[in-house]
Symmetry: C2
C-alpha cells in the first residue's frame, strides 16, 4: 500500500501525518507553529519529514510523496509561498519546495490551504468524484478553492480563487486586502464580529448583560458570540447573521454564474454545527440569479472537518504524480 | 492548406466564411438572421454549410470542420443551445450539432459567442499564446469568456463565465437575468442608457437640446448618446460613464482575484474607439484589490473587431480536434 506525508501549516498549529489513499492517517502529530522567523518553521518541517520518513521506513510503508498546504498565495508550479498570511510570521517569498528538496528525495507538492481542502473533499468527501465544484472556507477570513473540469483552477501562477475577495458591494466597507465590499468583510468571522461591534457601539440600549459587557470591550466580540446572541433572540445579532448570509448568497450566485459548478461546499469554523445556516444560504441562493445555472447546484457542508487540510495536502502526491501539467491523474 | 467553416449567429445577422488557420477569410458572406422560428435559422445554416462546402470543393480547399458561435447558454459538449438570447427568436433547447450532423460529415463545434471571441483573441489577437486571460464583451449586454491554464473555462455543462452577471452591488438595480446589481446593469449599453434615462427624468433642467428631446423620448437613449453628451461636457453623462467604469473596474478586480489571469481583454461596441475608456478602467483597477494579483495584469482592447466571432467560431475546428476532453490541441 502507498502512503503520502501530509502537512497542514496553520497560524497556530502544524498538523502532519502519514496518510493512505483513503485519507486514513497511519500516524498523526500536531505541533505549535513556531512564532519566530521562517527558519524556525522550515526547521520544524525538516524534522517532521525526517521523523515521518523514518517511521514509514521502520513500519515498511512505501511513501510516494510529500504534500503541504499553507495559507497565502502559493506558486504551485514552483512550490513557493509568494505572500503568506499575517497569521504566520515571516511567511513571504519562501521557496519551500526548493529548500525541503535538499533534505528528501520524495516529490514535494505545495498548495494553498483551501485548495487542498477542496481537493480532499473532491477525492474523499462531500464532492467525491465531482468534476466541477466550488469550496468556500469561512473562518477568520474567507478562502476559496475551485475544481473546474476535473482540474484545480489555478490561473497564471496559482494565485487565483481568492474568493473571499470578490466584491458583493462596491460601496461596502474597506477590506484589509486593499479592496472594499469583499465577501470576506461580511461572511468571515472577522466580518461578522465587525458588523456586530458596529451595531453595539451605535446602540444605546443594552438588552443583554453580554451586550453591555461588549459595549465596553468591543474588540472581544467573536462570530461565535454573535451566533449565540442570535440564538438567544437578539435582533441586532439576527440582522448581522442575515447580512452575512445575504452577502454569502450573492457571492455564491456570482460564482455559480462564473463557474457553472455542480456543487458548492461550505467549510470552516464560522458554520459551527450550523446546518440551519447552510439551509438559509440554500434558500436565499435559490431566490437569485439565472435559474438554469443556479437551480441544479447543490449547496453542501464539507465532510472532512478539521483534518480536511491534512488529508488534502497528502492527496496531492497521488493526484499530481505522473503529471507534468498538474491536471489530475485519475489512475 | 486546411480551412474551417466559421459561422457567427447574431440577433440581426449571421456571418459565415471559409477561414484559414491564420484567421483569413477565403470567402465571407453575411445574411440577415431569419425572424421566424428556429427552423428558418436551421435551414439557413444548412444552406450556408452546403454552399460553403461546395465552394471549398470547387476551389480544392480542404475543410477540417465547422465552428459555430451563438449567444446564449451553450452545452458545448453536446453542441446544443440550452437557453438562447431574447434577440434570436425560438432559440432555446436547439440541438444544433445533432441536427446539422445529418447534413455534413464534418465535425461540428458550437460555443457561446463570447467564448469564441476569447478563443479568436487568444489564437490570433491581443491574447496570442497567453494561457490565462479573461475577455469581457461590452455590448447590449455584457458577456464573458475565460481561458485558464490554456483551456476554455466551461464548468459542468458549459454554462459558465456569465461574467455580465456577477454582482458588483447587492443593493443594486434588478437585472433581467433574475439577479440584481450585476455588472451588466452598469457597464452594458443597456445599463448605461438606463442610468442616463434615470438622470434625465429626475433632472428638471435641460441644458442641451438633445437632453430636452430625450426627456420626452427616454427610451431612445443609447450608450452612444451618453458618450457623445459626456464628450460635449454634460456632467450627468460624465457621472454615468464614471459609474459604468467604476462597476466594470470592481468586476475586473473580482475576476482577477478569482482567475489570476495575465491579461484582461475588453471587446464590444460600448468601447467605441475608446482607448480613453480603457485607460480609465486601467487606472481605476490599479487602485483596487490585492496588489500581487492586480498589478501584473494588463488590460487591453481586443484586436480582431467585428470579425472576432466569425474567426473564433472557425478556430474551434483546430483547437478541439483530436481532443476528446476539449482541452486545446497545440499541434
Amino acid at each position: 500500500m502507498e502512503y503520502s506525508i501530509g502537512i497542514d501549516i496553520g497560524g497556530s498549529k502544524i498538523a502532519a501525518g502519514i496518510i493512505d489513499r483513503n485519507g486514513e492517517p497511519a500516524t498523526k502529530k500536531v505541533f505549535s507553529t513556531p512564532q519566530g522567523t521562517r527558519d524556525s518553521i522550515l526547521l520544524l518541517l525538516e524534522n517532521i519529514i525526517f521523523s515521518l520518513t523514518e517511521t514509514a521506513n521502520f513500519e515498511n510503508k512505501q511513501l510516494i510523496g510529500i504534500g503541504i498546504g499553507t495559507a497565502g498565495q502559493i506558486d504551485f508550479y514552483n512550490g513557493k509561498v509568494l505572500s503568506g498570511t499575517p497569521n504566520i510570521r515571516d511567511w513571504n517569498d519562501v521557496a519551500i519546495k526548493d529548500i525541503l528538496s535538499e533534505k528528501t528525495n520524495l516529490p514535494i507538492f505545495l498548495d494553498n490551504d483551501v485548495n487542498v481542502i477542496a481537493l480532499a473533499e473532491q477525492q474523499l468527501g462531500a464532492g467525491k468524484n465531482i468534476d466541477d465544484l466550488i469550496c468556500l472556507a469561512l473562518g477568520t477570513g474567507v478562502g476559496g478553492g475551485v475544481i473546474s473540469g476535473g482540474n484545480m483552477m489555478r490561473g497564471a501562477w496559482g494565485g487565483g480563487t481568492e474568493l473571499g475577495h470578490i466584491v458583493v458591494d462596491m460601496n461596502g466597507p474597506a477590506c484589509n486586502c486593499g479592496f472594499n465590499g469583499c465577501l470576506e468583510t461580511y461572511a468571515s468571522g472577522t466580518g461578522i464580529a465587525r458588523m456586530m461591534r458596529e451595531k453595539i457601539l451605535a446602540n444605546h440600549r443594552a438588552e443583554y448583560n453580554g451586550l453591555a459587557y461588549f459595549k465596553h470591550h468591543p474588540n472581544e466580540i467573536t462570530s461565535k458570540h454573535v451566533f449565540n446572541f442570535m440564538l438567544a433572540g437578539n435582533e441586532d445579532a439576527a440582522e448581522v447573521v442575515d447580512q452575512a448570509i445575504r452577502a454569502l448568497s450573492y457571492a455564491i450566485v456570482s460564482l455559480i454564474h462564473t463557474f457553472n459548478p455542480s456543487i458548492v461546499l461550505l467549510a470552516g469554523g464560522v458554520l459551527q454545527d450550523g446546518e440551519w445556516f447552510i439551509e438559509k444560504v440554500r434558500s436565499k441562493v435559490a431566490s437569485l440569479g439565472i435559474q438554469s445555472l443556479v437551480k441544479p447546484v447543490e449547496i453542501r457542508a464539507a465532510q472532512l472537518g478539521v483534518d480536511a487540510g491534512l488529508i488534502g495536502a497528502a492527496m496531492q502526491s497521488w493526484v499530481y504524480r505522473n503529471n507534468q501539467k498538474f491536471s489530475f491523474d485519475r489512475s
